[in-house]
């Protein structure tokens, strides 16, 4: 049911998204010493859109978020967020964005309500307004009962929800979420997904980073795949899946020698090689003719391959292929 909801809202959003970008970056570069963290990336997100920056650890996702949310300066490149330049109009940008970092930035020794009120006051709300806003958000994020308790007593999922609520005190034009579900159990992850989908539904533009394909697939209209500081692919989840073969053949080999032999015969086509399980994964179209031809080609002696299975490509396959060495 949740999946249906997400897909519906995505479709609705796609028709509503105007062409005017709420976030636009060109040629962003950043190095730390010898390490080139971002090697010149371009990004564009329409108003009301949800963009997922997808990549493995160390791909440069957090660095990109930190540049776009004005926390660090790029070595080169320009970026405009919510209509203002992140370098020359930093304060304007900061008034219109919210950042939820990788670790829930909540004060454990304050209660949920106190955390929210503090943010409200810092955002310029009066005492009464800040309290009212805190109450609203606690209710919306299902924290009403826990609002008077110290955050130290909260579960990981509750902390994340409070963290999100803190980012929404000011009704931001762009919400940055850096790995919003890292470290959460599956149930809490579902809740966060639902909340983010709801925000997108309300028209908040969301820029998120994630290592999980499933998350990008669920939440984002547009996925940008980042690997070692460079964009290796972008598009909708469906477009990305289309870029690689739809089917996979999983080969089980007779022994280590057979594995080496078949891997050599496949060359670039071997997407995954598992030396312990003695399996190799390769792309194919799933038809009997192609599978038969492939098996004949890579195993002419008909003794190296014990077993094979054909399955649909998952987003993980796409990801592995796109970020392939």
């Amino acid at each position: 049911m949740r999946i249906t909801y997400t897909i519906d809202s995505k479709a609705a959003r796609a028709t509503r998204c105007s062409e005017e970008p709420v976030l636009e970056a060109t040629g962003l570069e950043k190095s730390y010493g010898e390490v080139r963290v971002l090697a010149g990336i371009d990004l564009r997100m329409p108003r009301g859109g949800v963009l997922a920056l997808l990549g493995p650890n160390g791909a440069g996702k957090t660095t990109a978020v930190r540049i776009l949310s004005t926390l660090i300066r790029p070595d080169a490149g320009r970026a405009r967020v919510a209509g203002f330049d992140v370098l020359s109009e930093r304060e304007q940008v900061r008034r219109r964005i919210s950042l939820t970092g990788q670790y829930a930035a909540v004060d454990e020794l304050q209660t949920g309500a106190e955390n929210l009120r503090m943010i409200g006051r810092l955002r310029g709300l009066g005492r009464a307004q800040a309290s009212a806003r805190a109450g609203e958000l606690l209710e919306r994020f299902d924290l009403l009962d826990a609002g008077g308790r110290r955050v130290a007593t909260y579960s990981g999922g509750m902390r994340r929800r409070l963290d999100l609520a803190m980012s929404l005190v000011s009704d931001p034009a762009v919400l940055f979420l850096d790995e919003p579900t890292t470290g959460l159990d599956p149930r809490s992850r579902q809740t966060v997904w639902l909340l983010v989908a709801e925000l997108a539904e309300r028209g908040v533009s969301v820029f998120l980073t994630t290592q999980y394909l499933e998350e990008a697939d669920r939440l984002a209209d547009q996925i940008v795949v980042l690997d070692r500081g460079a964009i290796v692919a972008q598009g909708t989840a469906a477009e990305l899946k289309r870029r690689v073969a739809e089917q996979r053949v999983v080969l089980t080999l007779a022994g280590p020698d057979a594995l080496a032999e078949v891997a050599w015969a496949l060359g670039d086509r071997a997407i995954e090689i598992d030396r312990e399980e003695l399996t190799i994964v390769a792309p194919c179209d799933g038809g009997a003719r192609e599978v038969r031809a492939l098996l004949d080609e890579i195993d002419p002696g008909r003794s190296a391959i014990d077993d094979f299975a054909v399955r649909n490509a998952t987003l993980d396959d796409v990801f592995l292929e796109l970020t392939h060495v």
Binding site: Y32, R66, S69, T70, L71, I72, R90, E91, R94, R95, I97, S98, L99, G101, Q102, Y103, A104, A105, D107, L109, Q110, E114, M118, I119, R121, L122, R123, R150, M166, S170, F176
Partner: protein
């Protein structure tokens, strides 16, 4: 300004609720006072007519204030590593407001432990000779020292990679009073230490407090003490501002 007040309220609330740290900050000064007066005091000859408890109180006050102020480094570093600083920066909160918040909370914590130390000292036989104005001036000097060390702690907290590393600063600050005139006169120390002991900030600050509370000669110490505090404060504010703007955690 209101930003500073909101963050001061936050820091005070957090300090109040950190029960273990609060107990340490209150109990440690009292234990130190008893340690110096009752255990070491009998063996120490200061070469003055003052009883040792009276001689040592200004030093213990500074030791405690230094310790408690330097804990600010740990609190600030926790704000850095916990992502709080990032959030505040992305909200356009100024670094100065955060500094004021932490320093004001530190001053409040110190006020509580300072009063406690004085009460214990009086119970152990501390005999001050000061009138109201001198008491007020002593409080001012102590406050200047607390503000200076707390501000320096903010800079250290922004610089440190982890709260554990930041707590190393506490040890450094706690060591300084030992190599000063706080517990024993500098002339009783080995010659190679004289230069350091006589010219590091704790010595003129201790002598100023002693002068104000006990009527010993102050000389140029008051000026030097204030100059040290002002200098440390200025450097800390500049360093914190730069670190807050550039922090790349």
């Amino acid at each position: 300004m209101s930003e500073s007040m909101i963050l001061t309220a936050r820091c005070l609330r957090l300090s109040r609720r950190q029960v273990d740290a609060l107990i340490t900050a209150l109990v440690l000064p009292v234990l130190l006072m008893i340690l110096f007066v009752e255990l070491f005091g009998g063996a120490i000859r200061t070469g003055t007519t003052l009883s040792y408890v009276t001689y040592v109180v200004p030093g213990v006050l500074l030791l405690c204030a230094g310790y408690s102020s330097s804990l600010t480094a740990v609190a600030v570093c926790q704000d850095v590593t916990g992502g709080c600083i990032d959030r505040l920066r992305s909200m356009n909160v100024r670094g100065a407001s955060l500094l004021v918040g932490h320093v004001a909370a530190s001053a409040a914590r110190n006020l509580a432990s300072g009063v406690l130390v004085l009460v214990v000292a009086l119970a152990l036989g501390f005999h001050p000779h000061a009138h109201a104005l001198e008491w007020l001036a002593s409080g001012g000097v102590l406050l200047a020292f607390i503000v200076a060390v707390s501000s320096l702690s903010v800079a250290v907290g922004l610089l440190a990679r982890s709260p554990e590393a930041a707590s190393g600063f506490t040890f450094l600050i706690m060591f300084l009073p030992y190599a000063s005139s706080a517990f024993v006169p500098v002339r009783t120390m080995p010659g190679w230490l004289h230069g350091f002991a006589a010219h590091q900030p704790i010595t003129p600050i201790t002598e100023t407090l002693r002068g104000l509370l006990l009527g010993t000669p102050v000389g140029s110490n008051a000026g030097v003490a204030i100059a040290w505090c002002a200098g440390i404060l200025l450097v800390s504010i500049l360093a914190s501002g730069a670190l807050f703007a550039r922090r790349v955690a």
